[in-house]
Every structure is written in structure tokens, then in C-alpha cells.
Assembly symmetry: C2
Homo-oligomer: 449 residues x 2
């Protein structure tokens, strides 16, 4: 029987996946989870759809509540408890009970840091105005939802054209609002190449989103009552009743850093493949930790639910005495804006160039379903291939119904080290309602043959 | 300049893909294609959708017409010309001009046999009744379409619960017809395992298709005018205004066999990986030829458009002096019945058992999109894994919107020799409109860990 006491900091995907795995392996072990928010194990990725009305209630976004963890898994989850200090030497954490305003020390034998990431919020004039939101916790999603319900804002401004930007633009459009999106970059979706991102720009514009690129946020203006009045950029003043900040996230790693735990890529907590930090018996997992990138072979910071879940599982196996290694990431991601589906994996052309890899990149436009089948729409596939080895390094897809999930075929091919020829050779599924006889990912691969 | 004269027998996917490839590589070479039907390069797979109304006209199913091949590619395509004898010794074929009823010998230096496959039509009382159809050539699809338009049949009987059976059942339902499907097997879709096929049975029954399994076709009954009246099985008499035979296909290999060319798997033309037959300078490609199976490492006969296209490309490269090998098949296939999507790849559990492979098989039921997202529906994934090596041997998927194309991820994993653990480790795409945080194929793979 393992009597080592485990403390977990953070009660969302990584933390609770690890805690649950450890409980299955070690039924008797003491496990305490401190979560500073009100909720555990919720789908942050689902929040834009909850706000847009594709999810019936915020309750549905919660996979498992604290009381269920306590009763069914005997995991001592304490919400509204913030860990404010880690003391590695004495193996203890200082915890603040946010409701009772009291602090106490909790000892541990093993510690898992799963503190997540936070949206980047610029230090800027009137940033505190009511109606300016960044999506982070489930509570923040509920705040946006309630604001929309109560204030019925007509004009939305979104700062940042990434995943949150796409998804919130769709959510606001579905509420018949006027939507403006600004980004300081010359393109939407920084993780895609500009040629692919421009396809998204075209569709968004068609769908009546006013997109302003190369435009920098300068400050906000508020009404006398303290609510947001307008967004001021380096080029114009945009009236706003609600503002969403989708400017990226940063890992919540200060707590670890203050305790002398080393940080790595993008200031996320440095971990090895077993998710061990620089301090013995301290582990980190999820959005606060770095990940190994399979193509670049470097540590990167990628804050995604898929990664957090895998991190949690690997940390859980190792903390409970097993031996697992995090398999690495490709930065695979997918989203949609209305009917347009968008996905990417591995290296973009831009990234390949920055890394100095000798690559070839090709883009094809095909159709899905088959061209003669009703509802056939364009699908664009871009592949990046290593010029020497012909191995596939990355892919991007922009298209309609069923287009984007094809990125999984490319991600699998990259992981397995397949060449463009080997992708052409794959026996993929064909029937007219789904594609032409050559799947679009293979049509793209054939360009390299 | 290569002056070797090429004759191709058959003007559909394999033959025309090869001819086009050779033309690109060897602009000056003489290429003659003899096609006994009226059309070239059409999508046979699209016919059920043309009949069902998802394709506007039969013209749309034709990728390229004979006159286009002649004018743009200088390929001498002769429709309504049937090759009735191959003379390997003297390197010539005897050709019958079906319009002028005259025969002639045509010499060749290289010969490609791409004669396709034909539907199995049982030798049975009243099989000649009008209103009994089997889908083979584009003309046969047009015949069904015209019959429906002119006779407006109310009651359809489909013999055979495979791909054609599924697709024609959908087509008839979309025309508000009464649909009965019989199959002598104890399950639908023989290429799937019974547990997966039973999910299809349940849905088809819900959708008002009367399905009778373990029921054997005995004969037909016709009206005094010669039209179909009923289908008689070993258990009942089923009134019918139209009958579709979907009882499988057999390779058109008699012509080759009569010339002494060796047959192999399922009486298809024996070929090596370069698609050379047993006779020098004679090649075979497409539905008339066998294919190498990547998992069983045996020759099999799989008549599918994807395979025919790849065969054609490989034969074309080799005939024009290059060196390509057919990469092999997994038997990947996909279809849908109304909203239900169905796919398979590699070995089914049944096939693994028959082969004496030590395997494990597991099936999971998950959802897609994410459970909390509107329109979330069940998806069933079955994986077959080698018990010793843990490598994935096969997969089957039954589910709704976007479910079935996920088979490509499994097919890629099988081709690359991935284990169940390596599939769990893949960085696949996740966002709530597409799936839960673990893709269903990974949830299935996790069952083996």
C-alpha cells in the first residue's frame, strides 16, 4: 500500500485526469486537490458554444463535480482553495481558503502542479471597464453568457483572430450581433500560413464579420457608468458593447517559479518526458507545462485540452509508480467558423522556414463530397514535406462539411514518419458522399511525386 | 521515343488512368483503348446517388468522354468495341465492332487488360423478367433511372445486403418507395462483423426498410407482360415492381484465362506487384485483377474504385518504362445508409479468426460531436489488435455525421504498423463540434492498454 500523500494544484483536465488515474491504481492513497475556482473538470473548449447556444447549459460542460470526486472516488477536492506558495524543501504548500480568508500549510509526499494557463490581458487604459472579457475559467464563460442575457449588447469587438476569435465571432453572429474582429498580425490564425488564413478571411468577410488586420489595440474608452464604450486602435475607434480578448494564453507558472522550479519553453514549467519538474517529487501537467514537439524535437508550450488530458494520464501513471512517457505533440488543432472548418498539424511553412528545414510546400484545392454529389464544396489542403527525406512535416486544411477532421490522417502519417509517396499509397476510404476517389489529402501528397 | 504500340482493353478507371499516365510520360506513343460499352471513365460508385437524385444527371458521372481522350490526349478510344480474343503468342487481340458487327485483329507490343468486374447474376427462373437489374456499367444505371421514371414502381426488392444494397435502399426510400431487402447471410454487410452489422440492421428497420436475413432467393415470378411480379425466397413470396441484384461481383477474367493467362485469388487475373501477368508484356489492372493485402500478406480480389485507380497508375508507370509497385490494400471501404455512416478497414474479427491470428477485439460506443454539443450522436468503433505485437489489424465504424471517415486514421495506423498504444499517443484534432477530447478511435485503442 502506497501511503505517500499526494497534493494536486488545479482541478481541471490535467489535474483530475491524473488524480483519477492514481485513484484507480492506488485505491488507498490520500489525494487532495486544491482548486481556486468554483468548478472541476469542465470543458473550457465548449464555452464559446455554450455562449453561442449550441450547448444547453453550463452544467453540461462539467464532466464531473467536486462532490462526485469526493463521494465516488474518495478524492478530497477542495474548491475555492488557492495554493499561494510551494515549499519544496519542507514538502508542503501554503493554501488560502478563499471563502474563509484563512491560510494553512498542507504537507505532501508527491506534488502535481496543474495550474493551467490564463488569457493574456493587456495592461491598458480602461481595461477594467465592464463588458471586457477574456475566456478562462467556466465562471468567465458564465459571466459572458449572463452579460449577453442581461445587457443584450448589439456590437461585439473581438481582439485576436485565433481559435477563440473564430469561435466567439460565430457565437456572436448566432445571436444576430454586429461583429468586428481586429488583429495586429497581417493574417488571421497565426498557427496557419497566410495563404490558408486568407481563405478564412474571405469567408468571414462574406459572413459579415468586419475584420481589420495589421491593426493594433491601443486602449479602451468607457461610458460614465463604467461600461465599455469603444475600442481604440492605432487606426480607428470602434464602438463596442462587449469586448472579447482572444490574445493568446500564458502558462500559470509563477507559483512554480517562485519555488525555484525551472521554467522552460515560453515560460511554461520545464518537464521531462515523464512530466517530472526540476525538483524531486514535483510533477507538472497540462497548460502550465511544456511539451515535446515530435517534428521540431524541441520543447514547446501548447495549451490544448487533448494535451492536458494526455499529460494528466502520463503524470498519473508515473505518480502511481508506473512508467509512462508523454508521446509528444504535433500542435494538431481544429476549429470551425460557421460552416467553414479549419485544421492544422505539424509544421506550417512559416515554421519550417524559421527552423531552417529544407522543405517543399504545396497546396491543392479539391472537393468534398465528390464533385457531382449535391452539396459538394471546395476543400483546400496544404502539405509541408521535408525536401531530403520526403517525409511529411505538416498539414493544413480549410474546407466545409467533413473537411477538417481529415487532419488526423496527416497527423498519423507525420507521427509514423510517412513520406508523401507512402501517403499516396494509403488505402483510404472512398464513396461519393464523402470524397472523390482520391481523398484530398492524397491529392495533395501526389503533388510531391 | 518509345514506338511500342499499346492496346488497353477496357475504358474505365484502371484502363484510362493507365492510358493517361502513359500519354503524359510518352507523348508520341500509339495508344488504342477498346471499350465494349458506350462510356469511358465514369463513376460506377456514383450510380446509386444518381438514381436516388443526389446527382443531377448521368453526364455528371462521366469524368472524361471518349472524344476528349481522343482530341486532348491523342488516345485512340474506341467505344462499342469488344475484345473477344487475346493472342499472346502473336501479340494481337481480336476485336468485334459491336455496331458494324465486324471483327478484326489488332496487333500490340504491350497489352493492358482492364476489363473490370461484373455483378453476379444467378441462373434462375425468370431472371430475364423486365424490372430486374444489376448495377454494372453506366448504361445499367441509366436503365434503372429510366425504368423508375417511366414505370414509377412502388415496391422494390433488393437482393443482397452489401454496399449496393445499402445505397440502393437509400435511393429507393428517397423516392418514397416501399423497400424490402433480403440476404441469405445471418447479417448485413458481410465485410463487417455481426455485432457492427446489427447496428445497421436496427437503423434500417427504424427507417422502414423490411429486412429479411437468412433468407435465400429461389426464383422470380413475372407478369404475363414479362415484367417482374414477385421475388420468391425459401420462406415467402415478396411482391416486387423492381428488383436490384446486389449479390457481389466477379472479375471479368475469362478472356485472359482463355488466352492462358494465369488466374489467382477469387479467379481474378494473377499479377505481381508491378501488375504484370503470367505472360510477358501483358499487364492487368483494376477490378479484373488481384491485389496484395497488407495485413494478410496474401493476394485478394477487391473491386473498388480506389484500388482500380491506384492499379491504373502503377501499371501506367511501369508500361511507360518506370518502376512502381502496387502498395497493397487493406480493404478499406465506406458507405452510408441515410444518416448512418459505415466504414471498415483491415481485418474484421471474423477474418482474424479464420486466418488463425491471435487477436483481441474490442468495441466502444462514444459520441460525436462532444456529448454536450447539439446533434451529438452515438458512434461505435471496433478495433482488432494482434495479441502478441499489439499492432492494429483492423477497424470498423458505425455512426452518424462525420463518423465513418475516421476509418482513414485507422487505415493509416495499420499501414504504418502502429500499436494500440501508439494510436492512443497520436496527437489527433479535437474541438467540441467534432468530438470529445479523446477521439473515438483513441477511446477504442485505450481499451487495449
Amino acid at each position: 500500500m502506497n501511503t505517500r500523500k499526494l497534493v494536486v494544484i488545479g482541478g481541471d483536465a490535467a489535474g483530475m485526469t491524473a488524480a483519477s488515474k492514481i485513484r484507480r491504481e492506488q485505491p488507498e492513497r490520500e489525494i487532495i486537490v486544491f482548486e481556486r475556482g468554483n468548478h472541476t473538470s469542465y470543458s473550457a473548449c465548449g464555452m464559446p458554444y455554450y455562449i453561442g447556444g449550441q450547448v444547453e447549459s453550463e452544467e453540461q460542460l462539467i464532466a464531473r463535480k467536486p462532490e462526485v470526486f469526493r463521494k465516488k472516488q474518495h478524492i478530497d477536492v477542495r474548491i475555492r482553495h488557492e495554493v499561494i506558495e510551494i515549499d519544496p524543501k519542507n514538502k508542503r504548500v501554503k493554501v488560502r481558503n478563499l471563502d474563509e480568508e484563512k491560510e494553512f500549510w498542507e504537507p505532501w509526499d508527491d506534488l502535481l502542479i496543474a495550474t493551467g494557463a490564463s488569457p493574456i490581458v493587456p495592461n491598458m487604459e480602461n481595461i477594467e471597464a465592464s463588458g471586457i472579457f477574456a475566456l478562462s475559467t467556466l465562471q468567465s464563460g458564465m459571466d459572458v453568457f449572463n452579460f449577453l442575457k442581461e445587457k443584450k449588447p448589439a456590437k461585439a469587438v473581438i481582439v485576436g483572430g485565433g481559435y477563440i476569435g473564430m469561435e466567439m465571432a460565430e457565437a456572436f453572429l448566432s445571436r444576430s450581433m454586429d461583429v468586428t474582429l481586429i488583429d495586429m498580425a497581417p493574417q488571421l490564425m497565426a498557427t496557419l500560413d497566410k495563404d490558408m488564413a486568407d481563405l478564412i478571411l474571405e469567408y468571414m468577410t462574406e459572413q459579415q464579420v468586419k475584420v481589420f488586420l495589421k491593426e493594433k489595440l491601443v486602449k479602451f474608452e468607457k461610458n460614465s457608468g463604467g461600461s465599455i464604450k469603444s475600442v481604440i486602435t492605432d487606426k480607428q475607434t470602434i464602438p463596442a458593447d462587449i469586448v472579447i480578448l482572444g490574445m493568446g494564453v500564458k502558462p500559470n507558472a509563477e507559483l512554480a517559479a517562485r519555488a525555484g522550479i525551472k521554467l522552460g519553453a515560453s515560460d511554461a514549467i520545464q518537464v521531462n518526458k515523464r512530466l517530472e519538474t526540476s525538483e524531486p517529487h514535483i510533477w507538472a501537467a497540462g497548460d502550465c507545462a511544456e511539451s515535446f514537439h515530435l517534428v521540431t524535437q524541441k520543447q514547446v508550450h501548447i495549451a490544448l485540452g487533448t494535451v492536458a488530458n494526455k499529460h494528466g494520464l502520463v503524470a498519473g501513471i508515473n505518480i502511481s509508480g508506473g512508467n509512462a512517457e508523454f508521446p509528444g505533440v504535433l500542435g494538431t488543432a481544429i476549429t470551425k467558423f460557421k460552416e467553414l472548418e479549419i485544421s492544422r498539424t505539424g509544421l506550417s511553412e512559416k515554421e519550417a522556414k524559421e527552423l531552417g528545414v529544407e522543405y517543399e510546400a504545396k497546396t491543392i484545392t479539391s472537393v468534398s463530397p465528390a464533385g457531382y454529389y449535391i452539396g459538394s464544396e471546395k476543400i483546400h489542403v496544404k502539405l509541408v514535406v521535408n525536401k531530403q527525406t520526403q517525409r511529411i512535416l505538416g498539414g493544413q486544411i480549410v474546407g466545409f462539411k467533413g473537411a477538417a477532421k481529415r487532419i488526423d490522417t496527416i497527423a498519423t502519417a507525420i507521427s509514423a514518419g510517412l513520406t508523401a509517396q507512402q501517403m499516396v499509397d494509403l488505402d483510404l476510404a472512398y464513396a461519393p458522399p464523402f470524397s472523390g476517389v482520391w481523398d484530398p489529402v492524397q491529392i495533395a501528397a501526389r503533388k510531391f511525386i
